[in-house]
């Protein structure tokens, strides 16, 4: 489990506070979502969680180990337990899909080349990219790049998987494929998955633990079932900003359920 306690983050030499006293828990084997409007501080929170930003105050506890107090070598060891999917996939342009997925194995495992290749192939198959092993990122569609990045992120069997807006720039159908994949991987391997998103389909579909960030504060905590009936005005303004999702809520209140495309 990852636990955040009293986290503050400032920018511009301490003159602009972006995160205010964030307290949150991200549970093992669950899909944890961080949601909020653009500019609310979601990405800053995720980047602080993985150590790309150093918070001014607070603790980030990875199963009790405080990331903010780790030295360089401890941080390096902890990061080997982390997989991350970036908003733009962040695949290495000059490497093929196979080499991208093999990269963390080559750097940090003691596997032979054959074993690395087998493991990479397993991950590529897992994200349904079989046949694209020798393609370069530029030859892949946005959804395929995201899937290749997921394959790379899970190559080392991470304990924690972070995803920064995995569905941005993707069509709704591909977004569902990515959501399904993240759901399956999380439950099959028992990973603590933390997804930063403002895609309402994801929220309704895979949000087992949802943390709503509003102007840098934790505005609400709950899950995809509780989100329909809560009375938080800021959250309602965010989630039900469109007629479509107001209709979804209405349907849910009338029928007691909403069928989503993601299979649990």
């Amino acid at each position: 489990m990852i636990e955040v306690k009293h986290l503050d983050k400032y920018f511009d030499d301490g003159t602009r506070q972006v995160l205010f006293d964030i307290n949150a828990k991200f549970y093992d084997g669950k899909v944890n979502l961080i949601i909020g409007q653009s500019g609310s501080g979601k990405t800053v929170l995720v980047k602080s969680l993985v150590g790309l930003f150093k918070p001014e105050n607070g603790e980030i506890l990875y199963d009790g180990r405080d990331l903010t107090k780790m030295n360089r070598s401890q941080l390096k060891e902890t990061r080997k337990e982390i997989g991350m999917l970036f908003q733009g996939a962040a695949l290495f342009d000059s490497e093929t899909v196979m080499d991208n997925v093999k990269f963390p194995l080559m750097m940090f495992s003691n596997m032979s080349d054959k074993e690395q290749r087998e493991r990479a192939q397993f991950c590529i198959d897992k994200v349904n990219l079989t046949g694209s092993e020798n393609k370069y990122p530029a030859e892949l569609s946005g959804g395929m790049q995201k899937r290749a990045a997921i394959a790379r992120a899970i190559a080392l069997n991470p304990k924690y998987l972070f995803c920064d807006e995995p569905n941005s720039g993707l069509d709704p159908k591909t977004s569902i494929v990515i959501d399904q994949l993240l759901w399956d991987i999380t439950h099959e391997f028992g990973i603590t998955t933390i997804i930063n998103t403002h895609d309402m389909n994801s929220v309704m579909g895979i949000g087992e633990n949802i943390i709503f960030i509003n102007h840098g504060h934790v505005g609400w905590v709950g899950n995809k079932d509780e989100i329909y009936d809560q009375d938080n005005d800021d959250l309602n303004n965010f989630v039900y900003a469109t007629d479509l999702f107001r209709d979804v809520r209405k349907y849910r209140r009338e029928h007691g359920y909403v069928k989503t495309k993601v299979n649990y």
Partner: protein
């Protein structure tokens, strides 16, 4: 304010260099990248070096012959002066100024693009020392390959000067005598020392500008330009310093 900003940047640059001096996580991968950089930064630059050096050699000989004609000067002075210019300045300094445009912008834009597309963040998240992984192979490759490029430039320029002699302006044998006259081996060593320093400056400064870029494609372009401008200025400053130290 400007001085403080410069000192701040210099501090960042030193810290990046310090981080890049770590022991590589995988030596095999390091050597693969090192050889790849030698090919990309060095071998790929040879056609440009051959072309530029050949013409500069021709022009040096031609202009010296046309502008420095005095009955009191020995005839071999054309070859002698051409050699001194080429060995002491052109093959090391001027060539590195030219290469800083090609190689410096290449390095800064490559690393800068990796920064803005979060590829460097991806390396950091994996636990890879991104500075060591990206910067060190480039710096070592250029420091290794630059003296070789300078030697190629020396020979090509001198050959260019020799070739232009066949137009009839200078007697080829006199030219050959001139380039052998009063030859100081240290001049070549001095050029090679300079090339190592310039190789380090070009690769490390360009890496710094690329690594620290923030923003998007416009900023990558600006970083690339800034890298080349800064490198060029520093090459000239170091040229003066080293010439003062070694030759005075």
């Amino acid at each position: 304010m400007g001085l403080l900003k410069m000192l701040d940047k210099f501090g960042d640059y030193c810290m990046l260099m310090w981080r890049s001096l770590a022991i590589p996580e995988r030596w095999k991968e390091f050597f693969r990248r090192y050889l790849n950089e030698i090919y990309k930064l060095g071998i790929d630059s040879i056609p440009l070096i051959l072309l530029v050096s050949l013409f500069i050699g021709c022009l040096c000989t031609l202009l010296i012959k046309l502008n420095v004609s005095n009955p009191l000067l020995p005839r071999y002075s054309v070859g002698f002066t051409t050699r001194q210019i080429i060995v002491l300045e052109f093959a090391s300094t001027i060539l590195c100024l030219i290469l800083s445009g090609k190689i410096g912008s290449n390095i800064a834009s490559e690393i800068g693009t990796m920064r803005v597309t979060e590829q460097i963040d991806a390396l950091d998240i994996m636990g890879v020392n991104s500075a060591c992984y990206l910067v060190m192979p480039k710096v070592l490759a250029l420091v290794t390959v630059m003296p070789i490029l300078v030697i190629i430039a020396m020979f090509t320029s001198l050959f260019g000067g020799y070739a232009i002699c066949f137009t009839g302006l200078v007697d080829p044998d006199t030219y050959i005598f001139g380039i052998q006259t009063d030859f100081q081996q240290f001049d070549v060593w001095f050029a090679l020392i300079k090339s190592v320093v310039y190789g380090f400056l070009i690769s490390s400064i360009a890496s710094y500008y690329g690594y620290t870029v923030k923003g998007g494609s416009v900023e990558v372009g600006k970083a690339s330009t800034d890298a080349v401008v800064t490198t060029n200025v520093l090459i000239l400053v170091f040229d003066v310093i080293m010439t003062t130290i070694f030759l005075m």
